[in-house]
């Protein structure tokens, strides 16, 4: 009964009703209420059109993406007026068009590019990024000129588009790009459902494979989108109660539910900044676990809003976050916490390494592939994403910031590798335990996963505010030193 209530979006009568014209109008009204306020434009008008004409989904999303592109042009580029903004947008679209042409005519590319299309995509992207970053300083181009506006736009666009271009390069290699149109790719390059450098919904190949066209499947997918939006609001409420209890801050939508009572903690970054000496031993752990929970909920909420909208458009894609706090292994948490980032690392680092090491023993291949993805790929992703914070503040800041991220990535890679190997050994050999013991073991495993990721959290927060020494001091403070 509870299961049936929870899966209300799969009820055949409801699915059928939601597919009717009246049902679709009601669906749109519900979406208008549930979509996050800052996503309403251009999502709601486009959704109305997509509900009326689902066959034109990609064209409608392409239309919306032009608006998203406009909003991505940085404020500094607006100083150059409409010409600067227009130039920045045209340049971004031009780059994407060239990438699209290359993917479509993959067979005609030079052999070296065909062998390693992803590496070439990165080399080209980074060269443009470096050129655009240096243009304003080295060439003395003022940001308020159209050329300066174009350069600053590229600085923002390249990290945003790089991984999307990689998905397109993969499509080129697989041959699926040849059957696509330029406007099809706009849907995920500048997605109306939002997101950052990690593409929620991956590239066109995945979106196409998950596009529902059969009326009942389409209707069910849309209802699943509504359910995800509802869940997003539910978790928003839970998070605001946690924020209120931990920090004493009134948080929307529940306000100060606890009538001013709180544990009077702070979030992790100011706590590390203040040093462990400013907190009692137990409070240090409470700050850490509280911040870890808050961050995990925040990611889940954001992902539910984005994937909810994507499903409303009729794409039956996986959730970004799926009950990570119930994971009993490190690798399971990694799978469930930030699915599309994990997929990015798996597709562009893990599989290529696993396949390139075919002659080595299976366990060695697995460890190498995990290190390539969770350590090297992860580090590379963040360095590219935050390149001004790493590279434009001198060698000391570079060493300090890179050091913190490196500790995070190495520990994550090792943790996942060990967890994967243990998981593989356990496969097919479940321990024969009574129910009570099994539950206790499960809780212990979950606590271990929380502990691992909460400790990692110390190394991932406050990139520009915390030094390597401060992070080490906090870690020592957690064990009473």
């Amino acid at each position: 009964m509870i299961r049936r209530l929870w899966n209300w979006h799969e009820e055949p009568a409801l699915v059928e009703r939601a597919a009717t014209p009246t049902g679709r109008v009601l669906l749109w009204v519900a979406a208008a209420v549930l979509v996050r306020a800052d996503m309403r434009w251009p999502v709601l008008p486009l959704l109305a059109l997509a509900l009326a004409s689902p066959g034109r989904r990609f064209d409608l999303l392409a239309l919306g993406s032009l608006w998203v592109l406009y909003t991505k042009v940085p404020q500094s580029a607006h100083l150059a007026g409409p010409v600067g903004v227009g130039l920045g947008m045209l340049l971004s679209l031009g780059l994407l068009w060239l990438t699209f042409r290359a993917a479509r005519r993959f067979a005609d590319l030079p052999a070296a590019v065909r062998r390693r299309p992803l590496i070439w995509t990165h080399v080209t992207g980074l060269a443009i990024l470096a050129g655009a970053s240096q243009a304003t300083d080295a060439l003395g181009i003022a940001p308020s000129t159209p050329a300066g506006a174009a350069a600053t736009t590229l600085q923002v666009m390249v990290p945003f588009l790089l991984w999307r271009a990689c998905y397109l390069a993969l499509s080129g290699k697989r041959g699926s790009a040849a059957e696509s149109r330029f406007r099809d790719h706009l849907a995920y390059w500048f997605p109306v459902w939002g997101g950052g450098p990690t593409p929620y919904g991956k590239g066109l190949d995945y979106l196409r494979s998950q596009r529902m066209d059969e009326p009942m499947q389409l209707s069910q997918t849309r209802l699943a989108g509504l359910k995800l939006l509802l869940l997003a609001w539910l978790w928003t409420g839970v998070r605001s109660v946690i924020v209120s209890a931990l920090y004493g801050r009134a948080a929307w939508p529940v306000g100060n539910l606890l009538h001013g009572w709180s544990l009077e903690l702070t979030t992790l970054v100011p706590a590390i900044d203040a040093g462990p000496g400013a907190f009692a031993f137990g409070a240090r752990w409470a700050v850490l676990i509280g911040d870890f929970l808050r961050t995990t909920l925040g990611l889940a909420i954001m992902g539910h809003f984005l994937i909810g909208v994507l499903r409303l458009f009729g794409f039956r894609v996986f959730r970004n976050t799926y009950k990570p706090l119930l994971a009993t292994t490190v690798v399971e948490f990694w799978n469930r916490y930030y699915y599309y980032f994990k997929e990015l690392l798996v597709e562009f680092f893990f599989y290529p390494t696993f396949l390139a090491t075919a002659k080595r023993p299976r366990r060695v291949r697995m460890v190498l592939a995990v290190i390539a993805a969770a350590t090297c790929g992860n580090l590379y992703y963040h360095v590219v994403r935050d390149f001004p914070d790493y590279f434009l503040h001198g060698p000391v800041a570079l060493f300090d910031r890179l050091g913190g991220r490196l500790v995070y990535c190495v520990a994550l890679g090792l943790g996942i590798a060990v967890s994967m190997l243990r998981e593989q050994r356990r496969r097919g050999n479940p321990a024969p335990l009574p129910d009570g013991w099994r539950q206790a073991r499960r809780l212990r495993a979950m606590a271990g996963v929380w502990l691992f990721y909460a400790l990692l959290h110390v190394w991932s927060v406050g990139l520009t505010r915390l030094s390597l020494g401060e992070r080490v001091r906090w870690m020592l403070g957690l064990v009473g030193l």
Binding site: L170, S209, N335, V346, A358, M420, E423
Partner: protein, 84 residues
Amino acid sequence: MSRDTNRERLLRFLDAIRRPETPLAAIREDENLIRAGLIDSLAVLEIIVFLETEFEIEFPATGLDPGHLTTVTAILDLIDAHAR
């Protein structure tokens, strides 16, 4: 080798690596194996190794689309394409 023989070998293999709580018989051939809960993404690696060793498919040469490894039908199509 015929598609039926390949199917039999593949299903026997999937039965050995599946999650214990999901019976193989409950899954349709065109159903996503991960989504249906039959296997996890770690098991996809096992499928890769299985295809490399049993059918001598060299993925570095063909490239890998994980989407081709998530349904029984897609895996059988991949084996057929390689045999051709």
